[in-house]
Amino acid sequence: MVAIPSRHKSLFLLAGVVLLQILLLAVQIRRDSQGRLIRVWTVGAVTPFERAGATSVGGIRGAWRHYFALQNTSRENERLRHENDTLKLQLNQLQSKAAEADRLGMLLSFRQSHQAISMVVARVIGTSADTASQTLYLDRGERDGIRRNMGVITPDGVVGKIIESYRDASQVLLLTDKDSGVGAMLAESRIQSPVGGVGEPLLTMKYVANDDVVNIGDRVVTSGMDRIFPRDLPVGTVTQIKAGNPFKLIRLRPAANLERLEEVIVLLSLQLLELKKDTTAAEVTKKAADGAAKTEKP
């Protein structure tokens, strides 16, 4: 057996450790296992601290706003903000219905059943430890019915989708991540094309032919084709258009403020539910509000 000189032991250790991690990468890619057990342990160890941190920050912020800063104004403002969020969600759905009515006519619209989805409100308690990937941790997980590939929204628009669900926490891949994507279409022309992230604040809309007419400021909404998000949820607004080969290069500003997320709504059904005709947007909103109330309980 050849003895390793002591001066080179660390070099051999380095080679061995790097090789082991390369093998670990290879195994994950081959099996798509992603080392779930290690992640479960690490997330399980860190999320209680994150939850405590979020609660402490929330408590300190709440105390300051409610008792030191502007006792009544702050509370009133918070109530109005909640109401505003609820109304925005309602407004989006009413706009969607109005648009459908314009396109398909009053009779067809009257016959169509509305779609409603069960949902839960979750608080953002952490972000990715990686500076390049765009993910968030939520304080709700499998116990609340959250599973992988469920859609995540705010009243402003699409946020992303669940990529991992743990017992009491889950992880969201934001729409701005390079690996993210959502089935979308232009709200006016109904031209369909997936929208994805590039790791920057703006999104890209792919596969829109150069012949198609797109204008700055056009709204982009979900198409429902990905079977994750219902149709007509706001995705973003067109901010840049360049001619490309063979498709236009279109950049969008996300409808939801993805850099300032504290609470989100998780859509709990992977398959869209067909409900009775009289199921209204208010009912969907009420569910979100119930979820919010549940969140605030200790």
Binding site: L25, G35, G53, V124
Partner: protein, 176 residues
């Protein structure tokens, strides 16, 4: 032979620093906690890579390549496991293992106590770290990624600037 002898003479006056019990583990946990929590409230904080700064600091201070690379591996794997399914376990592990090894090897040969030296080394190691991630992504994961962006340049500068007071703070946790 003479080179080796001279090197050993030169290394003889470089002090190896030790830390109070639990310092490294506690610093690692706090860094990971801050890395995942603070950006929720201050998104710009995400430009900092606190786990990398710790890998560099403890590598430079302890000056033992074996412990430097093992610490880098542990910190990197923990960072991977908190980074979601889009980051496979090992991506940051490999990069931080090598940075830990290089930092402790350089720490054993140079005086790295001066703030300017620490500033320069942090920028260099940030670049090496990013380069290793890009290489790993391109070669092992088939994920094309650019070598340089302005965001990375800003990240290198910010991490180096924050590194100076952070390293001074960590200096106070050394055993005398």
């Amino acid at each position: 032979m003479n080179d080796t002898y001279d090197l050993r003479i030169a290394e003889a006056h470089i002090e190896v620093h030790k830390f109070r019990g639990g310092t490294i583990a506690a610093a690692t946990i706090i860094a990971l906690f801050l890395q995942t929590s603070v950006p929720v409230y201050f998104p710009k904080f995400a430009v900092l890579d606190l786990p990398l700064l710790l890998t560099i600091y403890f590598g430079l201070s302890r000056r033992n390549p074996s412990s430097g690379l093992l610490l880098g591996m542990v910190i990197g794997l923990l960072q991977d496991s908190l980074s979601g399914r889009t980051i496979p376990l090992g991506l940051y592990g490999i990069a931080k293992t090598i940075v830990g090894y290089l930092a402790s090897s350089i720490g054993a040969r140079l005086d790295t106590e001066h703030p300017i030296a620490r500033f320069a080394l942090t920028i260099i190691f940030f670049g090496v770290h990013q380069g290793l991630i890009v290489v790993t992504r391109r070669l092992l994961l088939a994920q094309p990624e650019g070598w340089f962006t302005m965001h990375l340049a800003i990240g290198a500068a910010v991490n180096a600037i924050v590194g100076i007071p952070l390293f001074m703070l960590l200096d106070r946790l050394r055993k005398n």
